[in-house]
Structures are given as C-alpha cells and as structure tokens.
C-alpha cells in the first residue's frame, strides 16, 4: 500500500515516502495554471476564473495533464486577477473571464504567449513574460512568501511535495531514524532549536520586534504547566494584509512553525487567534489543521514521536486592541479584550495564568525556513540588529500596490520607486506611513532611511506589522493625523484614563484645526497631551497612539500652521479651507455642474464658461466630482 493511500503518517520515513510519491506523480513537463486567490484578486473575480479554467481542463481532449490550481497571493495585487502558467512561469495580469479560453488555447495547449495580458512596466512600456523578470519581483527577496503563488493552500500534499514539514522532521527525529525513539535521542534538543533561532536573530514580526529566541527561552524556563503557544493573526492595522496573505496563501507554514516552537518551549496546546474580518483565513487554517491532524502531523504523537501538539482556532470579535498580547489572551478566555499592565510577563503568566508564548503568524511562518536553512543563513540577510526579510503591504497612492517581501535594511526609496513603481498618476510623493495607526509619517527627506526596527523608531515611526501607506501631494497630513486619532479613539478599550480621555481631547483639537477653527497654541497642547499619553498609558496601543500626531507635527508643521494661521489647507482636502473655481478655458459649458449643484451656486450659459458664486457655495464638491472635463479646480 502506498503512503498516499494510508491515513496516517506514523514516522519520518512515511513523510519522506509520501513526498517522493507525490513528486513521482508530477508529470515532468507538467502544465499547470495557477490562479491567484489572494484578497485583491478575489475582490476582482478570481474565483470565477478558477472555475472556468477547471472547466476548460476538464473539457479539453488534449492528452497532456493540466492542473488548475487556486494559489495564494502573488503580491502584485493592483494588477489582479493574476494567472501564472507553467512551464515558463508566464505571468498574466488583469485577466478577465473572456481571456480564459484564449490563455488555455494559446498558452496552455499551444505554448504561445498572449502579449496583451503580459505585465507592462508603466515607466518604460516594456513587457515581461516571466514573473521573476518583472521589477516588482526582481528587487524582492521572497522567503516567507516563496511558496505563495505556487502551492494550493487547501492541499497539504502541495505543501509536503514542496518540502513542507521537513523542518519539523529535522527538529524531531534524526535523518533516518525510526519512529519510536524517546525525545532525548531526537534531531535537535529544544535548547538547540532555541539557539538556532537566536543565531538567526529573528525578531517579532508583529511590530514589537522582541527577540523571538529570548521569548521562547523565558517561556521554556518559566514554571507552571501546561504551557501555551499562540499565533497572533489579529491583523488589525488598517492598510496591512501580510498576515492575511500568509494565513490564506500558506497556512501550513504557520502550523509547522508553531509545532517547532511548541516543541522548543514544551507546550502541547496552541491557539491561533484570527481577525473577525478575515473569514477566509479562518476557513483555510481550519482546513489545514484538519488535514494535518488526519496525517498525524498535529495531535497526539506527532509523526509517531512522543511529542504531541494540538491547535485550536479562535475568531476575534472585531476589536483592534486584541492585537495586544494581554488583551488577546483575555479575549481567548472569553472576556472583553482589555489589556493589563505587564509587571508580570505573559511568558510567565499569560493565558489562564499559565506560561504563554505569543508570536505573530508571520514570525511563526519564518521559523521553518530558519530551521531548514540554518540560523547563520538567515542572519546573513538584513542589518546588524534587524535580520532576515520582512513582508510589507505597499499600498496607497502608489503605482504597483501589493505585498512585497524585502531584506531588512533596504531603503524606503527602493521599495517605493523600484518595487512600487513610484507615485500614481505622476503626482508628487509626500509621505509614507509605516507601523499602522500608531506609526508615523516619514517625509521625502528621509526616504533613504533603511528599513530596520531601530531606524524607523528614530524617525518617530515604527516597524509595526508592515503596512507601508504611500501618500501623495493631495493628502492633508493634519487630516491623516485626525483619521488615525479617530481610529485609535474608537478602538481604545477605555480602561485607562490617558488613552480614553487624552485621545478624545486630541481628536477634538485636530477636528477643530481641519474645520478651520484651529487656535494658536493648539500644537503645543497636542504635544503636551501626547507626552502624557506616551508616558502613562497602560498598553502599547495608548503608549504609541500619539505617534501619528507627533510625526506629522515634526515633519509637516507648515501644514498645521497653514490651517491654523491662514485658514488654508495646502493639500486642498479639508472642506471649507479651500474653494472651488471653474477654469474658464477648460470649461465647455456642458451644464452638468449647474444641474447637479445642490444650492444653485453655479451660473452660465450653455457652451460658455460657467461661474461659481462663492457666497452661495457650500464647498460640497459635487461639481468637482461630476465635471467630465476636470474644469473645476480646487484653489
């Protein structure tokens, strides 16, 4: 009987045999179609494309084996839906339903490229056939995302065929040993695993940047049992979807990482806490855990060893603060997600008062790579204190938005211009916001700063979980600060006064400024409130909540002054702090603005330039939105 047909893998050699069998089933010239089902592509209709390709494969009479695969996020989300055809790694973008037949006939069966669907560099106009030639991918160094776009996240066999769970095997059993060795004769001792992660210099990818090995060791040495490990997938930062892409694109990498961590720490129960807004992540992880359990990779006696580990999925309730470790644990206990002061660390007393090790899911997904390729290899990438690669979600007013994985130490400029292709619509760069809502805005003069935990903190921002939100000249930085303050105020749990009341006051002041009611002295008040907040708040949410305000004051003081002193919004975003005017030369006198104006402030004869009566105008912007000739200007 083959291993594939058997239900459970009871030894390392079973897993090895399964991998060999899976590989032997692959046709050498295997043709396959990979349809991306990452969040961006799904929003653009990728599931329908996948169904159509499956139908085409089924119908085709060709005597070649073709596989249609739904795969995880490729990263270049703005150009979705993305379809990759093998052999040749041919990369098609913005594929629509009618294109399916053509791709299948020309490329899959005929081996010819459809130039129309290839990626075109917006600057040079050059077209690229293979994915790796595209500048967006060329500058990247994909480790955690390396299997995204290649494996089907719903099939554990895909992960195993690509070498999945080999790191677990390396940790648990020596290369060719049998099944039932006692723990002490196994491949790596827990201390050796921790030492390897320490050599790698891995730091928490959720934003804190705490050395992972040190956390594991503290938890391992802490007294008390049982011990718990938690995967934090409560990706709350707006503008960030790295964790979502890993959970949905390669869920087994997280499970394998947690298995290794649990072994090192001495835990037999794990939890993955997934954000409520990500129902597909929950589904994928549940499916993955179920498949791993069936094969004996999760559960009692993993791969026939004496190591046992179970994982449970918990769905969040929709509270940003639950990304904070103590709040998350409170939520796992079925309580409201309020953080507590960390006089006692969670590694000593966390979930249910037991030693608990919490890491972000991206951190967990990095672990198998470190075990497989060695801590030294990982430490060879990055800067002195920030090692390895980091996934960022590069979004906002940028040409190529999507997920990017880059070595630590790369400059912001390279990410934005070489990978991101610069600012959209030929606009001017103003700032990049890193670190989520409690991060900061970094201006153009610091674009050559290196992406590194310490460097970003020095600039008044932080690494955070990895959102990179690019803002152009049309973005008002005071309004950005107000937006984030609004967000944090709404998400503040209300437990401690500086956060609950301080943020409300800051929001009040910022709202005044954006409405044109700003007073001299407001900025000083904001600074004072920020200082109290960061010095006295109970948890990281409150302590960093002033960052957006402080960083915008630090780098864009002139915009605050323009609002307060001149009652003018330089970015022309704050309603009432600029006016609408009609450009007489561009106006064709079509009458659309006149018809749509809710207060009849626009006058003019047909086919001659119209005029806005500034006395009547309420600055609602309807004319600006409706004008087909962009003749309405903000001044």
């Amino acid at each position: 009987m083959t291993v594939l047909a058997s239900k459970r893998l009871s030894s390392f050699s079973d897993l090895q045999r399964m991998r060999e069998e899976l590989l032997s089933l692959r046709v050498p010239s295997g043709r396959s179609i990979h349809v991306c089902i990452g969040p961006g592509c799904v929003a653009k209709g990728a599931p329908k494309l996948y169904d159509l390709f499956c139908a085409a494969v089924k119908q085709s009479q060709a005597d070649v084996q073709v596989q249609a695969k739904a795969v995880g996020c490729h990263g270049l989300c703005a150009s979705g839906p993305i379809v990759l055809v093998q052999p040749g790694d041919i990369f098609y973008q913005q594929v629509e339903e009618p294109d399916v037949a053509e791709i299948f006939r020309e490329t899959v069966l005929g081996g010819r490229v459809v130039p129309r669907l290839l990626y075109q560099d917006p600057q040079t106009g050059k077209k690229f056939e293979a994915a790796e030639e595209i500048p967006f991918y060329k500058v990247q160094q994909r480790i955690v995302l390396s299997q995204n776009g290649r494996i089907d996240p719903t099939k554990i066999t895909d992960y195993i065929a690509e070498g999945g769970y080999s790191a677990l095997v390396k940790v648990l059993t020596p290369a060719c040993a049998g099944a039932s060795l006692p723990l002490r004769q196994q491949g790596m001792t827990p201390e050796e695993v921790i030492a390897e992660v320490e050599v790698a210099g891995l730091r928490g990818r959720g934003g804190g940047g705490f050395p992972t090995a040190r956390k594991w060791r503290s938890c391992r040495q802490a007294e008390g049992a049982p011990k718990y490990v938690i995967g934090n997938g409560d990706e709350g930062d707006p503008g960030a979807f790295m964790d979502r892409a890993v959970m949905e694109g390669n869920p087994h990498s997280i499970i394998e990482g947690m298995l290794i961590g649990a072994y090192a720490i001495g835990s037999s129960q794990g939890y993955i806490y997934v954000r409520n807004e990500y129902p597909l992540s929950v589904e994928r992880l549940k499916e993955a855990i179920e498949q791993a359990k069936q094969l004996g990779l999760v559960g009692q006696n993993v791969l026939g060893t004496s190591f046992s580990f179970d994982i449970r999925i918990n769905r969040g309730g929709g509270a940003f603060v639950c990304g904070e470790s103590t709040a998350l644990m409170a939520s796992l206990e079925g309580r409201t997600g309020e953080p507590r002061a960390k006089y006692v660390h969670t590694v000593e007393s966390g979930l249910w008062g037991k030693p608990t090790n919490l890491n972000n899911v991206e951190t967990w997904a990095t672990v198998p790579h470190i075990i497989n390729r060695g801590g030294k290899w990982f430490a060879g990438i990055g800067t002195e204190k920030s090692k390895g690669t980091k996934i960022f979600s590069l979004v906002g007013k940028i040409a190529n938005s999507g997920l990017v994985e880059v070595p630590m130490g790369i400059t912001l400029r390279r990410i934005i211009y070489e990978i991101g292709g610069g600012i959209r619509d030929g606009k001017k760069f103003k700032a990049v916001q890193t670190g989520g809502p409690s991060g900061g805005c970094i201006p153009a003069e610091h674009l050559d700063a290196r992406v590194d935990y310490e460097e970003l903190t020095k600039l008044g921002s932080m690494m955070g979980s990895g959102g990179l939100i690019v803002m152009d000249e049309d973005t008002c930085m005071v309004n950005v600060a107000r937006y984030f303050t609004d967000f944090l105020l709404a998400e503040s749990c209300g437990k401690c006064t500086p956060c609950r009341e301080g943020l409300a006051q800051m929001r009040h002041i910022l709202q005044g400024i954006t409405k044109g009611d700003g007073q001299v002295g407001d900025i000083e008040k904001l600074n004072d409130l920020a200082e109290i907040l960061s010095g006295t708040a109970l948890c990281a949410l409150g302590a960093t909540a002033a960052n957006p305000v402080l960083s915008t004051i630090r780098y864009f003081r002139d915009e605050y002054d323009a609002h307060i002193l001149d009652r003018r919004c330089p970015a022309k975003e704050c309603r009432g702090l600029f006016i609408y005017q009609i450009d007489a030369e561009a106006c064709k006198g079509c009458g659309i603005c006149l018809k749509n104006c809710p207060v009849d402030a626009i006058t003019g004869e047909r086919k001659s330039p119209h005029v806005i009566d500034q006395q009547k105008c309420t600055r609602c912007g309807t004319c600006w939105e409706k004008c087909p000739f962009t003749a309405v200007l903000k001044v």
């Binding site: 707006p238 807004e277 918990n314 509270a319 959102g467």
Partner: protein, 164 residues
C-alpha cells in the same frame, strides 16, 4: 423544550460547556439568528452560570456583535487607511444621504444593514465595498449607489413574483 433553548444546548455542547469559549458560542448564536437575541443571551448565561452582564459586556465590547436584527442584505464599506485616502468617506456620505441610514444602522425598509469597518485587507484594490460577501473593488460614490439600487430593484421584483 422550545426550539430556542435547544439551540443554546447545542451551542454549549459544541464547546463542552467551556466558559472560555464564550465568544465562539456567541458568534455561533449570532450566525444562527443574525443577531444576539435577548432570550438567547439570557439562556446562554444561565446555562453557563455566568452573570448576564458579562455576556452583555462582551456583546458591546466587540464590534462584530449586534443586538438588533439586521436587514435583508449586508453592506460593508471599508474605512481602512487606504480606502479612506482613496475616498471612502465620500462613499459613506453618499450611501447615508441616499438611503437615510447611518453607519451601523439598517434602512427603514429593512433592505440592508450598513456597516463600516476598519480594513478588510484588500487595500490594493481600494476603496472596497462588500455586499452579502461579494467584493466590489475600486468603488466610487456613484458605482456604490448603483450596486445598492440594484439590490433594491431585485428586492421589488422578488416581492412582485412572490405575490400570487
């Protein structure tokens, strides 16, 4: 035993009556009923032997719980940073004005419940609106309203067809 209390029994059994699984239990209850009915919460509190106030605290703390029934359709607009920068406040305004519904509320005719959320992780194709699980990318005030008008139109057709 009434149908309501047997549902609570089922949900509680699903999690071995583990109070730690209160949030998943409430999520299941909401999935079944569309919201958290008062009776259900009282029954759940009694069954788990915890004060009702604790359930109420949880229900009001987490954004995903609702204590009132929702409309026939669910409309969710993303207000995450990128969607915000790309104009979702104007979309929210347009929907509120046109259908007389504030974020978090349900239209008077029960056509849809309108929610705004802070990021759905589809930032690359912002602004994003989700209607009954279907994603609409790159929406504008006009295109968002168009989708909602279609909902209203389909609903009227369905009503007419239902009439004998």
């Amino acid at each position: 035993m009434s149908q309501g209390s047997s549902l609570i029994e089922q949900i509680v059994d699903r999690y071995d009556r583990d109070v730690g699984m209160l949030i998943p239990m409430m999520q299941d209850l909401q999935a079944e009923c569309g919201y958290l009915p008062g009776d259900g919460l009282r029954a759940l509190a009694k069954r788990l032997d915890v004060p009702l106030t604790r359930l109420y605290a949880v229900a009001t703390f987490y954004a995903s719980f609702r204590l009132a029934p929702k409309g026939a359709h669910e409309v969710t607009l993303c207000m995450g940073t990128v969607c915000y920068l790309k104009g979702s406040p104007r979309i929210s305004q347009a929907i509120s004005n046109e259908f007389k519904v504030a974020p978090g509320g349900t239209t008077r005719d029960g056509l849809f419940t309108f929610q705004v959320v802070n990021c759905m992780g589809a930032c690359a194709v912002a602004p994003v609106m989700v209607v009954d699980g279907k994603y609409y990318d790159g929406v504008s005030p006009a295109s968002a309203l168009e989708v909602l008008y279609e909902l209203a139109a389909n609903e009227t057709v369905a009503d007419k067809e239902a009439e004998p």
